[in-house]
């Protein structure tokens, strides 16, 4: 593997094509689980695991799967990994599994995974595909974490369950309510766009 290409893959996953902030994929879990940092990180890592494995497997199978049934095949592969992650979480991290609820099985339909399967894994060798899965997953985790930090801090006054803003702080419940999810995500994406345009302008002059 060329290091340059790997670096590019990671740059894409984490920044340039960040799945949440740039590609705008996987919105459901993004919004639903970022009420706390812990949930966000766990969801991010679970997704990363699934993404990594499914990218790897799909890349391995890419020559074997006929076009007509590729979606069905991808879906089965992804769903199996999701189930495995789900079972493992249930067995070893029951509390987290509780709070992520239905969104763990829904990783299956997280658009990121199928999008990467289609756009990357089915066209690259397993090594790169795995790297891409990892990079995208980490990018997803990173942006989920940003959201998680903002929402948990404002909405509960805590971080990773620990009270940090002091006694006087009154948490804003609506930030952790659905509406807050949308609005905070909007603001974070706007901030990302702003940063990008700033960087572009810097680059020009």
């Amino acid at each position: 593997m060329e290091p340059g290409k790997v670096a590019q893959i990671f740059k894409n996953g984490l920044v340039l094509q960040n799945p949440t902030l740039v590609l705008l994929l996987g919105m459901c879990s993004t919004l639903a689980v970022t009420t706390s940092l812990k949930n966000a990180v766990c969801m991010g890592l679970s997704t990363t695991a699934v993404l990594l494995c499914s990218n790897l497997v799909i890349s391995l199978l890419r020559h074997w799967i006929p076009k007509q049934i590729r979606i069905a095949c991808y879906v089965v592969v992804v769903a199996s990994f999701v189930t495995i992650v789900d079972l493992l979480l249930q067995a070893y991290l029951p509390a987290l599994s509780e709070s992520l609820g239905i969104f763990i099985p829904l990783i299956v339909v997280n658009c990121i995974i199928l999008a990467r399967a289609e756009a990357f894994a089915s066209k690259h060798t397993p090594g790169y595909a795995a790297m891409d899965g990892l990079a995208m997953g980490l990018g997803f985790t990173a942006s989920l974490s940003i959201l998680g930090v903002v929402r948990e801090l404002l909405g509960s006054g805590t971080l990773w369950g620990v009270s940090v803003l002091g006694e006087g702080f009154q948490p804003m419940l609506l930030v952790v309510a659905p509406c807050g999810g949308f609005i905070v995500l909007g603001c974070v994406i706007a901030a990302a766009q702003w940063a990008r345009s700033l960087a572009e302008r810097r680059g020009k002059t």
Partner: protein
């Protein structure tokens, strides 16, 4: 199932527990296919249709296959497989048999396979131990909730084209803020007590 029960279920699925605005399911098409009201209506109806069918088929698979054999842990895989195949067959069928409807809805169908709302409703049906009729009804009603949200959202987005957000907020961010405000308005329905 009594009429009041159905009514209660409808209020819950459409307003109080709206799939998009409260439960966060199906956000991608909600954000993606809502620029124009016409397409939003098409997408909403297509999703409703698939959610209804999907609920029925997955109920059958679950009740007659997975539960008797103790294979509940395979729900996710089998549901998504059923849904994917279903969507594809429906698409092919429409294209052949009802080309007019296909040209209106067909383009949305492939998007639906990867829509959390469809798998979500199947999983929720199982979680809530709904029987066949309730499952089907819940699927359709939740789909109608999705339709309501996306159509309403699309009308506001048509208005957004004339608003002037700061540059960084143009496009998706302002749409998300809009969705947030809409979700906030829908908070009024939370915890409806009709039943």
């Amino acid at each position: 199932m009594s009429v009041t029960q159905l009514f209660a279920l409808a209020l819950s699925a459409i307003l109080a527990e709206n799939f998009v605005l409260v439960k966060f399911l199906g956000i991608c098409p909600f954000l993606g296919v809502s620029k124009k009201t016409d397409t939003a209506v098409g997408m909403g109806l297509a999703v409703t249709f698939v959610m209804g069918l999907g609920s029925m088929f997955t109920w059958v698979v679950n009740t007659f296959l997975l539960v008797p054999l103790g294979l509940q842990y395979m729900q996710t895989v089998s549901y998504i497989l059923v849904i994917a195949a279903l969507v594809q067959v429906v698409e092919m069928f429409l294209r052949r048999a009802l080309p007019a409807l296909y040209s209106a809805l067909g383009i949305y169908l492939p998007l639906i396979t990867t829509n959390c709302a469809v798998l979500g409703v199947a999983l929720l049906n199982t979680q809530k131990h709904f029987n066949f009729v309730l499952s089907a009804a819940y699927g359709v009603l939740a789909g109608l909730g999705f339709t309501l949200a996306i159509v309403l959202f699309s009308t506001i987005r048509e208005r957004l084209e004339f608003s002037k957000p700061p540059k960084a907020f143009e496009g998706f961010p302002i749409a998300l803020v809009t969705a947030g405000l809409l979700a906030m308005a829908f908070m009024g329905f939370s915890g409806l007590k009709v039943w």
